[in-house]
Structures are given as structure tokens and as C-alpha cells.
């Protein structure tokens, strides 16, 4: 019996300022393959379908169980994690491209440091007094934990930014992931004491007002985070905050 194979097409680019080329690889099918295994197969035998020797494809990956956020890319045009993209479920030929809303480094690797910078800008942390042993944390109702925990599972993959029409070279929207983190920290008993700092950061350019409610983000989230709920909640908080600031004459 002939060996079962399938085709993977990959958008290759050595650097952002170099030309794009598409390469096709014919890979041997095995059960339970995912896109990561495809990329490793290519690294072990980097010859295109036409028999031309190429180089292993550069890509980001770490945990391989969809909890680190590293391996986001466009797979058949959809922004998703490569580790959970199973070959059996994908239309062939499989098409791999880098995310488009972040600066390209090489092949499928992009620079998502903007998201980490935005987490910094929006003060997404609990400002503790220090690591000294000063007793227990605040009590928290189970209902609050059950709302907060799903938000805390955000893996900063960037898929929600990739699909957002307001994240582009003209608009500077921070994106749903960051807004949802602001909601998380504003929800925490200690974090709430400092919610004004975070809301201030979301009031200017790139802030919550730039969301035009396309609702693509929530569908693209691999962790099922209720992003549109977060956008609505933080939008409400920002409005109240703005009115209060105005009344205080700030």
C-alpha cells in the first residue's frame, strides 16, 4: 500500500525586509499529528516537494499543550495555536503563515512584545507591599474567584489582536486581551484599590473607546475567555470613572 502523505504550504520570509516565498512540503501521515509535528518533520528533512533543499522553518513553540501561548500562527487563514491544530481536522493542503498584526522576525516568528508592554502601561498587577510574611490575603467569595479565574487563564497568544479590525497600522487599540486583564485586576479586592490607574491608561489613545464591537476576539480565543463581556464591563467602568473625574473637576 502506498504511504499516505499530505501537503503543507508555508509562507517563508528570511527577514521582514526580504521577499516572501511559498514552499510546499509533502509529509508522511501518522495518526494524531499536529502542526508542530509537521514543522519538526520538515526540520528533519528540509527538502521541498520539488526536492529543493531549504532550511528548517523558524517558529515559536514551547509547552505544546496550549497553556504558554507561544505557537500562535495563521493556519488555513485562522489565527490559532499550532499545538492544538490536529492534522486530521485540517483541510489539505495545510497553509501556514505568521500572524500579520505583529512585526515579523522570520518565517512564522513574530514579535509580540507590544502586548507585554501594554500590560505594563495598564498596571496589570497587584501592588503588594513586599514579600515579607505579613499574613493572609483578602478573603474572596467563591463567586468572585469563579469569575476571575477564567480571565486569569489568558495566555497572551495575540489571536484576539490578530482578528480585531481595530488593531492595525492606523489604529492603536490595545486589544481585548489587555482590557480583559484590566477587568481581572480591578475585580480583585486589593487590585480594586488602584483601579483608577488602569482606567486612566485605557482612556486615552488606544483605549477602550477604540473597540468597535466587531466581536471577533471572543471567537478567536483558544481559552474561551468571555472577552466581549470584559470589553463591556471595562467600558462601563471607564465611563463611570470619566464622569466621576469630571465631577471632581480633574
Amino acid at each position: 500500500m502506498a504511504e499516505k502523505t499530505f501537503i503543507v504550504r508555508i509562507k517563508r520570509q528570511q527577514r521582514a525586509d526580504e521577499s516572501v516565498r511559498w514552499e510546499e512540503y509533502e509529509l508522511r501521515y501518522r495518526p494524531h499529528m499536529n502542526v508542530i509535528i509537521c514543522l519538526r518533520d520538515i526540520a528533519e528533512r528540509p527538502f521541498t516537494r520539488g526536492g529543493v533543499e531549504s532550511t528548517p522553518v523558524s517558529y515559536d513553540a514551547n509547552c505544546l499543550e496550549e497553556v504558554c501561548g507561544a505557537c500562535a500562527m495563521l493556519i488555513n487563514g485562522t489565527a490559532r495555536q499550532a499545538c492544538t491544530a490536529l492534522v486530521d481536522d485540517l483541510e489539505k493542503p495545510i497553509r501556514l503563515e505568521p500572524l500579520t498584526k505583529f512585526p515579523l522576525i522570520r518565517d512564522l516568528v513574530v514579535d509580540r512584545s507590544k502586548m507585554f508592554e501594554d500590560l505594563k502601561r495598564t498596571h496589570c498587577w497587584i501592588p503588594i507591599d513586599g514579600t515579607y510574611n505579613i499574613g493572609e490575603g483578602p478573603r474572596m467569595a467563591p463567586a468572585v474567584q469563579e469569575k476571575g479565574y477564567p480571565l486569569a487563564r489568558c495566555i497572551t497568544c495575540g489571536n484576539c489582536l490578530e482578528v480585531c479590525p481595530k488593531v492595525n497600522s492606523n489604529d492603536s487599540f490595545v486589544g481585548a486581551a489587555i482590557v480583559s486583564q484590566v477587568r481581572l485586576f480591578n475585580m480583585h479586592p486589593t487590585g480594586a484599590m488602584h483601579s483608577a490607574e488602569r482606567l486612566d491608561a485605557l482612556m486615552g489613545p488606544g483605549g477602550i473607546a477604540e473597540c468597535d464591537n466587531a466581536q471577533n476576539c471572543v471567537k478567536a480565543c483558544p481559552k474561551g475567555i468571555p472577552l466581549t463581556e470584559s470589553l463591556a464591563a471595562v467600558n462601563g467602568q471607564v465611563l463611570v470613572h470619566a464622569v466621576k473625574s469630571w465631577l471632581r473637576g480633574e
Binding site: 486530521d88 512584545s113 483578602p138 469563579e146 486569569a152
Partner: protein
């Protein structure tokens, strides 16, 4: 000297905690990591973190946590630091809680605790089944706060190559490679803290992340840092086998009532859920009535091996057993185990709420690691500290579930201030070291990269060598160890090292060349594999995770000692030192007793 300069390498739990402690003391930190630190392997820890808070009225205490840990580790761990860790654990949980970790709660709003392997107490705090992720994020956020105050500089996307040693053998800096530009640079420091995690890649497929290669540890070993107890490798009993990695199914599944079983009738072809209760063999509950499904990992793993390979009672068509949570109410599963059940469903395509999961043991953790002293996380080389999975101190011959997160954080808490204190005590700091010392190391490392890039006649593929190494290490140096097979493994490693000299890089570019960094890691992995195998070969006894059927008993007279490997001119030498058992007398480790 002026203000000390501290470098931390690795941004998982241990590295982040060390960073926080140093920054908090007013000393600036440079933090280096291969991946953005928020993507470090700590995210993969699932079940929880141990601390004897005794919130369930069970009479738990930090002494009992200490006893369980030492007993679970088969008395190989030095006892004082383990006691320190167990004593500190409740305050560590409080700290994490204050940092905003979304731990599961009781109706009263207090932290909830569940049971884990190797204990009879509810001692494990948890945030769903993604506790490591939640803890990592909390520390990541604190470090980001320090970063915004310019107390921490992050270097993400850099890989560690070596330390810069002065002529007196003192660490004066590190040599690293930028994974984008492939530039090799040195950075001076007064002390460097290594928190570089696990070594899963040495075994090919494991539960570890891609970055867990042990390359940094091996590089340090080759520069004179001792490597201790390398032969103690934990194989987790329940993982989903996979070609790219084995995905962990947390012990917390059993902590919440999950049961391990196989059909009583070998070769039963019915689906798991169609096999009635009376025809199931709950072998852990039967063989270990007191601890049941929550025996320590080495015990559960050997039991599964016995079922599958000796008794031939594994599931039809593949080496596996069932891990069953289908009897647990859906509401409980959603609240406490969602994270792992989602992984099973996404990768296997079967709903574990309805069908029992098929699992098999997989390499998971190294108890061994860089040798550090019994007080400060200091290695034998002045200026080099280590904490987290990459050190050897806390778990003896077998780690208990949910002790890794607490050991990472505790180690980081000690290493940070210790490195600062050491630096403050230096007569002269790194700024007084001649530039030539740094340049010498940079050139040495550049030459290694250049030699690989300029090797045009290579025929050997790096992935192939890596896979062959992983296969033989998994086959011969994990669950069951025979000396003849260990000898064969050493021969194979020799062959692979020889083939490594003829490696074909395939990618000779100077931009985001992942092959170059992988090949450099692979060279280091081959040496670490030898350390592990030699340690296993020498140790003729059975202790914790180290099981030799030819020597089935623990042999305290000859082997109650720490393996301490050193490297001398390309040769690996094994030395031994006594274990500090000053707090808890030795006793037989036996989990078979009735309750």
C-alpha cells in the same frame, strides 16, 4: 564596591522569585530568558502547591509535610533545607494569595485544599488545574511592576552559553546568544542565579516544554559546577502519549477522586465506559489500600508498568491504562479540573467527562540537578547560584506531587538575598575585571558557533540524533534499570557524540537561526545524558524512582549518599557525599500497609 550587579538566568517560578527578592532589596537585576518569561515551563504545572495550612481540621502540620517529603523521597534529601521549605510553605501561599492568585475558595472565602500523592492530608492549594500558570503569572506581574520602575531589565529571547570565569575561577559574568541576531555577548555580574528548569529533552518526549533541555546546567557542569543525583528521574504515571510530547494528566485528577483501572479480563475489547464496575481491576486501590490511587509517583508508575508489561493486562492496542473521572459530578470537574480535561479533549478528541482517559507513564521531572550547598543555594563555584528544578536539594529520590512549585519559590527566595550578600562581600566587583577576561569567553563561544556554521560536509541531522538519544534514554534510563542496558546506553551515547561532530546545520544564516541554538543545546544534552546514565549505572540499589530489579532493596549501608558528578578535561567523575539525616531517623519506605 558600589551597588552589586545580579543576573538571573531563567524566568520560571524560581527565577522570577529570585528576581523579585533581589529587586526588592534595592539591587538591580538583569533577567535573561529564552522565551518571554510568561511562557516559561512553570505554566505547565497543573495540580497545586503544598503547604500545611491545616484548614481542614485534619491535624496537619509542617512537620508532617516534612516527614511525608523525606519519606516520599526515600531519605535521600538533606533534611534541614527540606524542613525549611515545609516551614515556609504556609507563608508562601499567603504571599501568592496577596499577589492575586485566583486560588479556589471554600464557601467561607478561604483557600481550598485538595489531596495529592504521598500524603493522607488535604494540603494542596490550587487554582483550577492550571496552578503553575496562575503562580507564574502572579510573579510575572510583580516583576513587570519592578520593570516599570527600572529595577529589572529583561532580556527575553536570549540563550545562555557559559559563565565568564576569572583566573581565580570566580564567576564574573555570563555569555549569551541573542536568538534573533545570533550575536554572542557577555554581560558582567557579581553573582549569577541559574533557574533554568528541567531536562526533559534529554529523554526526547517528556511532559516538559521545548526549552527544558538542561543545556545551561550541562554548560555549567562543563565549567566546573558539580551535578548531583542526576540518576534520579521522575516518571509521571499518568500522561497522554504523543509524538511531539507527552501531555500530563495531573495527579489532581486522582486527588479529586479519579481512579486508575484496567479490565479484569486481559484483551477485553469493549469500550471503557461499557465495562461494568465488577469487571474492572482497580489495581492501585487493591495493592495499596491505605493510599490507593494517591501512592507516590514512582510507586504508581511501577505498578502501571507491571500491569502492562509483566501481567499483560494493559488496554487493547496500546500500552495504556484507564484514568477515570467519569463518576465525579460535572460541576466539580468544571470547577476543579477543567484545564486538564480540556487538554485531553483537544488532543485526543474524546470527552473525559464521559469516557475514561487512556494514560501511560512519561518522563516528567529531574530530582537531580546542580549541586548547591545546604544553606544558600550556592554552587561550588563562587558567584554561581541555582534554584528550582535545576537544583538537586529538595526531593531526594522521588518528588511528591505539588512540592515542585513550593521548592521553586522557596529556592528563589533563598538564592536572591544570598547572591546579594555574597556580592556585597566581594573585595572587588565585576567592574574591576579586565575586559580581556570577557573577550576571551566571547571568542571561545563565537568559535564554537562559527565551527558549526562553517561545517559544510556534515551529514548528520540534529533532530535524528536528538530522537535517537531520547529513545535510548527513555528505554533504558527511566522506570526500570538494568546494568547491561545502561552500559549499552553509554555505548550508544558515544556513537551519537561521534556523529555529532559531523552534524549538518542545514541553516547557516545569521538571523533567528533556531537550528544553530538547538544544535548547541544538543551538544550539551549529550553530556548530561552521560552524567545521568553513569550515575544510574554506579548506584547498585533501589531507592525512590531509581529501580534496579537486580538490586531490589534500598541499601543504606552503601548508598545513603549523594552522587556528585564533576567534569575534568572531558571526563565525568562520580564522587559521593553523605546525606544530612539529622532530623528524621531512617525507616523503611512502604506504602502497602492497610489503612
Amino acid at each position: 564596591m558600589t551597588v552589586p550587579k545580579i543576573i538571573v538566568v531563567g524566568g520560571g517560578l524560581a527565577g522570577l522569585m529570585a528576581t523579585i527578592r533581589v529587586a526588592e532589596s534595592g539591587v538591580p537585576v538583569d533577567l535573561f530568558s529564552i522565551v518571554p518569561v510568561k511562557r516559561s515551563h512553570s505554566v505547565c504545572a497543573q495540580g497545586g502547591i503544598n503547604a500545611a495550612k491545616n484548614l481542614k481540621g485534619e491535624g496537619d502540620s509542617t512537620w508532617k509535610h516534612f516527614d511525608d517529603t523525606i519519606y516520599g523521597g526515600d531519605f535521600l534529601a538533606n533534611q534541614p533545607l527540606v524542613k525549611g521549605m515545609c516551614d515556609a510553605a504556609p507563608a508562601i501561599i499567603d504571599l501568592l494569595d496577596r499577589m492575586g492568585v485566583m486560588f479556589n475558595r471554600t464557601p467561607e472565602g478561604l483557600l481550598d485544599f485538595r489531596r495529592f500523592g504521598g500524603t493522607l492530608f488535604h494540603r494542596t492549594a490550587f487554582a483550577g488545574a492550571t496552578t503553575g500558570q496562575q503562580l507564574l503569572y502572579a510573579l510575572d506581574e510583580q516583576v513587570r511592576r519592578f520593570e516599570s520602575e527600572d529595577k529589572v531589565r529583561k532580556f527575553e529571547g536570549w540563550t545562555f552559553l557559559s559563565v565568564v570565569l576569572d583566573d581565580g575561577g570566580v564567576c564574573r559574568g555570563i555569555c549569551v546568544m541573542d536568538l534573533k541576531t545570533m550575536e554572542i555577548r557577555t554581560f558582567p555580574c557579581d553573582a549569577a542565579i541559574f533557574c533554568t528548569g528541567g531536562i526533559g529533552a534529554v529523554f526526547g518526549r517528556s511532559t516538559n516544554s521545548v526549552v527544558c533541555t538542561g543545556s545551561a546546567q550541562s554548560a555549567l557542569f562543563q565549567q566546573g559546577v558539580y551535578y548531583a543525583n542526576g540518576e534520579f528521574i521522575q516518571v509521571h504515571p499518568t500522561a497522554i502519549p504523543g509524538e511531539d510530547k507527552c501531555r500530563l494528566m495531573s495527579e489532581s485528577a486522582r486527588g479529586e477522586g479519579g481512579r486508575v483501572w484496567v479490565p479484569k479480563q486481559a484483551g477485553d475489547t469493549r469500550r471503557g465506559k461499557d465495562i461494568p464496575e465488577s469487571e474492572r481491576f482497580y489495581f492501585l486501590e487493591e495493592w495499596y489500600p491505605k493510599y490507593g490511587n494517591l501512592v507516590p509517583r514512582d510507586v504508581a508508575t511501577r505498578a502501571i508498568h507491571k500491569i502492562v508489561f509483566e501481567l499483560k493486562m494493559g488496554l487493547v492496542g496500546e500500552p495504556a491504562v484507564y484514568l477515570d473521572v467519569t463518576h465525579i459530578p460535572r460541576e466539580v470537574l468544571d470547577r476543579k479540573l477543567e484545564g486538564i480535561l480540556e487538554i485531553y479533549e483537544k488532543f485526543v478528541g474524546v470527552d473525559p467527562h464521559v469516557e475514561p482517559m487512556k494514560v501511560f507513564p512519561a518522563m516528567h521531572y529531574t530530582m537531580g540537578g546542580l549541586w548547591v550547598d545546604n544553606e544558600h543555594q550556592a554552587t561550588n563555584v563562587p558567584g554561581i547560584y541555582a534554584a528550582g528544578e535545576c537544583d538537586y536539594q529538595y526531593h531526594g529520590a522521588n518528588r511528591l506531587g505539588a512540592n515542585s512549585l513550593v521548592s521553586c519559590i522557596y529556592g528563589g527566595m533563598l538564592a536572591g538575598p544570598a547572591a546579594v550578600e555574597y556580592s556585597r562581600g566581594l573585595e572587588s566587583g565585576c567592574e574591576s575585571v579586565p575586559a580581556a577576561i570577557f573577550e576571551r569567553e566571547r571568542v571561545r563561544q563565537q568559535d564554537i558557533s562559527d565551527a558549526l556554521l562553517n561545517q559544510h560536509k556534515g551529514t548528520e541531522n540534529p533532530i535524528t540524533i536528538w530522537r535517537e538519544m531520547g529513545d535510548i534514554m527513555t528505554e533504558n534510563v527511566t522506570v526500570i534499570r538494568y546494568n547491561a542496558n545502561l552500559e549499552k546506553t553509554l555505548v550508544k551515547l558515544d556513537e551519537l557524540s561521534e556523529r555529532f561532530t559531523r552534524i549538518n546545520l542545514q541553516d547557516r544564516t545569521q538571523w533567528a537561526n533556531q537550528t544553530l541554538s538547538f544544535v548547541r543545546e544538543l551538544g550539551n544534552m549529550l553530556i548530561l545524558a552521560r552524567v545521568i546514565t553513569l550515575g544510574a549505572l554506579a548506584r547498585n540499589e533501589t531507592r525512590g524512582a531509581h529501580y534496579k530489579p537486580e538490586f531490589p532493596e534500598r541499601d543504606d549501608a552503601n548508598w545513603l549518599k549523594t552522587t556528585k558528578a564533576s567534569y575534568n578535561g572531558g571526563e565525568i567523575i562520580l564522587n559521593y557525599e553523605p546525606v544530612d539525616t539529622s532530623l528524621l531517623p531512617l525507616r523503611e519506605r512502604k506504602y502497602t500497609a492497610k489503612s
